[in-house]
């Protein structure tokens, strides 16, 4: 354990050595809560504290009987009063000091004991003071890398890096790291994971260096700061200029775009106007709640039952804060393809970005709610491994790759997510009819559902259909909520065909494609029985075939071998 920390500033965190986190990590992780509690306690005790000082320094100023510090009245019975009454002020202060010292020592110790390293095989984290834990995630199992920068962490120039692996609660968090080093670390982890080890460990790493060098030119100014213990070894110019440099760097980081422009071809970035974000949020699911609330308010005013208004204040606050968080999270949204996967970034004050390496996306769904239809807005969600459905809003945010966009945006996003659906291919040609088309339209290459399907799906039976090309199954359904699901067969887990008594009677069946758990459920609720059996057989065969051909898990291997 001892001697694990590097003695000099580190440029490359992925060098196989043990490293420490950003020194402000404990404070950012739990310390802010502690400070908030202390502030709360002090604010509540303000009067007592003021009087306490008055008693000590100006005993004559108080009215008789007001500050009787004795056991008989209320004053003596509350903790602070009791301490003063029993002349324990000194001990109490000592106790407080002790607690503060212990907390600081605990923070420091937990920081000392929390180390991580990145080897060519795995990401490893050791942590814990009394109960040591050592977690290790294999690089070839990595499902994604998320970098989050909450507002407070950004002020400290820190960022949280999360390595997402398959399996529930299997994520490895590195909270927090120096903000500028984090991007380099992500790049290195992804490069190691891509299978392109030769470029990293080979005798002549010059091949990979041009991009690396330019990246490091940016990161170097940030290095002395994340590891202040190293500062004495260098000669700091003056404290003033150094502080100025740090502040300037913070400002630069704060204003910098979430997406590194060097890494992304700019033409592929989807741009969402602010108006569309606000509009889509207002017309989203919360719109119904707002309507209901408005109705209640109007009813309350008309019937002069004003108390009704107050009971709905909490609900109104909830809705407004939900809308606000949705809007701020969607602001500055960006999506772009990088050599190591698709990167989705968003956030105004707290920023985050997720990198999805190639071959990790198990299903893609474009959805259009009925209120969005006049505007032609769609949202895109995905299934990735290691993502539980009930994992809260952060996970929901992560599976939502496009909060709102036009049909063209959807095309572009899907082309990024599934390389098979790139523009000009047969899959891309069908996305348009998959989004809005229905059976019977010209140029529609989706299968048609027989009319008796209307017994089960009276509104949407015309839209229910499927198509398979280039190893991608396209399933479309839904009329009020239009859905188009794309499943790369190379990653389909299994396929099921089922029929209950009603469907059997109608000569129909239901087909489901099983993928990893996520918000997208690829299914075809109604399909003609024979067609269903044929499709079942076809999908089962093609899934095996595509899985054998699939090499996207190690997307960098070919380039490294070449």
């Amino acid at each position: 354990m001892s001697g694990a920390a590097p003695a000099k500033p580190v440029v490359d965190l992925a060098d196989g050595e043990w490293h420490r986190l950003h020194p402000a990590s404990p404070l950012l992780r739990g310390g802010l809560v502690f400070i908030a509690i202390a502030g709360f306690v002090i604010a509540n005790l303000r009067e007592r504290v003021v009087e306490f000082f008055l008693v000590i320094f100006a005993p004559g100023q108080l009215d008789d009987g007001f500050g009787e510090w004795s056991d008989e009245n209320d004053w003596g019975r509350d903790p602070i009063g009791g301490i003063v009454a029993n002349n324990l002020v000194g001990w109490a202060l000592l106790g407080v000091l002790l607690v503060v010292v212990l907390v600081i020592a605990g923070f420091w110790l937990s920081w000392r004991m929390h180390t991580f390293r990145i080897t060519p095989e795995a990401v490893e984290v050791r942590s814990g003071i009394l109960f040591r834990s050592h977690r290790s995630a294999r690089l070839d199992r990595i499902q994604g890398i998320n970098i989050t920068r909450p507002v407070f962490a950004r002020l400290f120039g820190a960022a949280k890096l999360e390595v997402q692996v398959a399996g529930q609660s299997g994520n490895m968090q590195l909270a927090y790291l120096g903000s500028s080093l984090t991007d380099g670390l992500r790049r290195d982890i992804l490069r190691l994971a891509s299978g392109a080890r030769a470029t990293k460990n080979g005798p002549a790493p010059a091949v990979a260096l041009p991009t690396v060098a330019s990246g490091e030119a940016v990161t170097v100014p940030g290095i002395p700061e994340p590891l202040p213990g190293a500062a004495p070894s260098a000669e700091p110019p003056t404290i003033g200029s150094r502080a100025g440099a740090i502040v300037g760097q913070r400002v630069d980081e704060f204003l910098a775009p979430e997406l590194d422009p060097e890494l992304a071809p700019p033409e592929s970035v989807v741009h969402i106007p602010v108006g569309r974000i606000v509009g889509s949020t207002l017309l989203g699911g919360a719109a119904l709640w707002m309507l209901a609330l408005a109705g209640i308010v109007v009813a309350g005013i008309v019937s002069r039952q004003l108390w009704m208004l107050f009971t709905f204040v909490p609900a109104a606050i909830g809705i407004v804060s939900y809308l606000w968080s949705r809007i701020t999270k969607s602001l500055r949204y960006s999506i772009a393809g990088t050599p190591d996967g698709v990167r989705v970034g968003y956030g105004l004050l707290s920023t985050a970005n997720h990198t999805l390496p190639p071959g990790r996306i198990h299903a893609v769904e474009a959805t259009q709610w009925i209120f969005w239809r006049p505007f032609g807005w769609w949202s895109v969600r995905i299934n990735v491994a290691g993502q539980s459905v009930t994992n809260g809003s952060e996970a929901a945010q992560r599976t939502q790759v496009l909060p709102v966009g036009t049909a063209e945006d959807v095309q572009r996003v899907i082309a990024l997510l599934l390389p098979e659906a790139a523009e000009g291919g047969p899959v891309a040609a069908q996305i348009g009819s998959g989004l809005t088309g229905r059976a019977g339209r010209e140029g529609d290459r989706f299968s048609a559902t027989p009319k008796r399907g209307a017994w089960l799906h009276p509104f949407s039976w015309r839209r229910i259909g499927w198509s398979v090309s280039d190893g991608i199954a396209l399933l479309r359904r839904g009329s009020l909520v239009r859905r188009l699901v794309l499943v790369p067969l190379a990653r389909m887990q299994s396929v099921a065909l089922s029929a209950g008594p009603v469907r059997r009677g109608l000569g129909l069946a239901e087909l489901r494609l099983h993928t990893v758990v996520g918000p997208v459920v690829p299914s075809l609720p109604v399909i003609e029985r024979e067609a269903g059996e044929a499709l079942f057989a076809h999908l089962a065969d093609e899934a095996v075939e595509r899985a054998n051909e699939d090499r996207s898990q190690h997307w960098g291997r070919e380039t490294a071998d070449a």
Partner: protein, 198 residues
């Protein structure tokens, strides 16, 4: 969903079943070699559906009887204690439904079938609620053998296949124990040889 309702009671799960699990990929093999198309050892794919053991009928019938008996008893107790007038009628209805279900049990058990094809396992069950699933061998994460008390007395076991998708839910009941062990080893070997990514 509907596929559950054709086997409404699974007595094997009510008591502590003994559990043996075997991970399909005990140590992740080095990802260097691409998944070979040919299996490591020869195995002949099934030409026909394999049926589960006819003795499995006993397991299902006993399970149905126990569940029905518990419900009927509870309803009769409710009638005698609180005098709920509808309770005996409900008990009668439950018993009737159970008897009809038991009458169809032989057909249902016969409808359960599985088939090891060249690259995937095919599983089907149900008459009223028919369900058919294909699981590629390379997708299997875990093969799990469970023995319930009744099934164990009859020398039967239940084989469960777990993939990365929770919805796969393929459980082949009523396999003789020796056959279950052999099948598990064979499937693990097959999964190893056709291993794909997640």
């Amino acid at each position: 969903m509907p596929e559950q309702s054709d086997h409404p009671e699974q007595p094997d799960h009510t008591e502590q079943p003994d559990h043996t699990e075997q991970p399909v990929h005990p140590e992740q093999p080095a990802p260097e070699q691409p998944a070979p198309a040919q299996p490591a050892h020869r195995f002949t794919p099934d030409a026909e559906w394999r049926r589960v053991s006819p003795k499995y009928l006993v397991v299902e019938v006993i399970g149905s009887i126990i569940t029905t008996a518990i419900i009927v008893a509870a309803l009769l107790v409710a009638f005698s204690l609180w005098g709920l007038w509808w309770a005996p009628w409900a008990a009668g209805a439950v018993a009737l439904v159970a008897i009809i279900a038991i009458a169809f049990e032989p057909r249902r058990v016969r409808s359960i079938g599985y088939r090891l094809r060249e690259d995937d396992l095919l599983f089907r069950r149900g008459i009223m609620f028919h369900r058919q699933v294909a699981v590629p061998y390379g997708r299997m994460q875990l093969v799990d053998i469970t023995r319930g008390p009744v099934a164990r007395a009859l020398g039967l076991a239940e084989l469960k296949f777990v993939t990365a998708a929770a919805a796969t839910a393929v459980t082949v009941p009523g396999i003789p124990e020796a056959e279950a062990d052999r099948l598990r080893d064979e499937l693990v070997a097959l999964a190893e040889s056709r291993r794909a990514g997640l």
